[in-house]
């Protein structure tokens, strides 16, 4: 279970390994783990071209991405459900927002504190 401590020469050899070797050997496999879909382009659009990525459009695209991920049996990336929930909140749909924040929490327990913060802020409003 516990890895043997590495001799210095092994570590040095590892340090010399090329970027390619590192990526291939690290277990990434050929291609990304997550199904990224439109998430990052939407983040870019909403800042770079305000008005070109309205919440309704983002909801459509992200919902479609999530369905695609499920059909391909690939995980949805960290943040996507939270981002989708936030877009629902922008639309005034608190129930849908809550649902997405809960999914983010379930898929990524690392998000719990922040998701709970968003949820409690919604309740306070």
């Amino acid at each position: 279970m516990v890895a043997d401590p590495e001799p210095v020469n092994v570590r040095r050899a590892a340090a010399l390994t090329s970027l390619v070797g590192a990526v291939l050997a690290s277990g990434c496999g050929p291609g990304p783990v997550y199904h990224w879909g439109h998430y990052e382009p939407l983040v870019y659009e909403m800042y770079a071209h305000p008005g070109k990525a309205e919440p309704a459009q983002q909801i459509d695209e992200l919902t479609e991405d999530i369905a695609t991920a499920q059909s391909k049996n690939r995980p949805v990336p960290p943040g996507v459900h939270a981002h989708l929930g936030y877009m629902h909140l922008q639309q005034g749909n608190a129930m849908a927002a809550r649902e997405q924040f809960e999914i983010e929490k379930r898929l990524f327990p690392e998000s719990t504190v922040f998701m709970d913060r968003l949820l409690s802020q919604m309740t306070a409003q």
């Binding site: 590495e6 990526v23 960290p78 981002h83 719990t112 922040f114 913060r117």
Partner: protein, 217 residues
């Protein structure tokens, strides 16, 4: 379109640009290996107003693929703005105790953009993205990693490197909707920063290769 074709050349430049310094000491990072990373909007030392968006919209992917939970960048930005922190400078000044309490992040990635965008020359144009990054352990306040965002491409660069192209295909996917050349380059530079074997991030707990990542052990 031309930008996409020369992305590999840019990646090569990015990869060779950081091979000069000795490898970093990963022991502190290993000792405080975070599960989650809070990406804050970057400080911007340039006059390029789109630089922060180029960075923010291309950093989640490499971090998540490296095995970390990445907080939703735009939601974080909006949340902080709604809670009285309108600028990146103010966001960077938030205490780690507060970060832990409100966001629950294990580490924060702070980035400062130093140089960004297209430079026009007489017969060619260069696009550059350049910034500095440091990752801070929220529990101790220790800087556990520092890195450089860097990639450059010239409109006259015709060279392609097969290994660089392979890496580009593996870790960065050029965003087709982009009309901003620095945006594609940012994706490359962020990918290289995260995955560089000698200077990049350790693989995070969600990555299957994390247990066999020997750096800092």
């Amino acid at each position: 379109m031309r930008w996409r074709r020369s992305a590999a050349a840019a990646l090569l430049a990015a990869a060779t640009g950081c091979a000069v310094m000795p490898p970093p000491d990963y022991s502190g990072y290993r000792a405080h290996l975070p599960r989650s990373i809070l990406v804050l909007p970057p400080l911007n030392e340039t006059t390029d107003v789109t630089a922060p968006y180029d960075y923010l919209a291309t950093i989640s992917r490499p971090l998540a693929e490296a095995g970390y939970y990445v907080f939703p960048v735009a939601v974080i930005d909006a949340f902080l703005k709604e809670n009285g922190l309108p600028t990146a400078g103010e966001m960077h000044a938030v205490s780690l105790a507060r970060v832990r309490e409100v966001v629950g992040a294990d580490a924060v990635l702070y980035v400062t953009i130093e140089d960004w965008g297209q430079k026009y020359r007489i017969i060619s144009s260069d696009t550059v993205v350049k910034g500095r990054a440091h990752l801070v352990d929220v529990g101790t306040g220790e800087t556990i990693w520092t890195g450089t965002i860097f990639a450059q491409q010239s409109s006259s660069a015709g060279q392609t490197d097969p290994l660089a192209m392979l890496i580009a295909a593996l870790i960065t996917q050029v965003v087709s909707s982009a009309t901003d050349p620095a945006h594609d380059l940012a994706s490359t530079a962020n990918g290289v920063m995260v995955f560089d074997r000698d200077r990049g991030l350790l693989l995070g707990p969600r990555h299957p290769g994390s247990v066999s990542d020997l750096r800092g052990r």
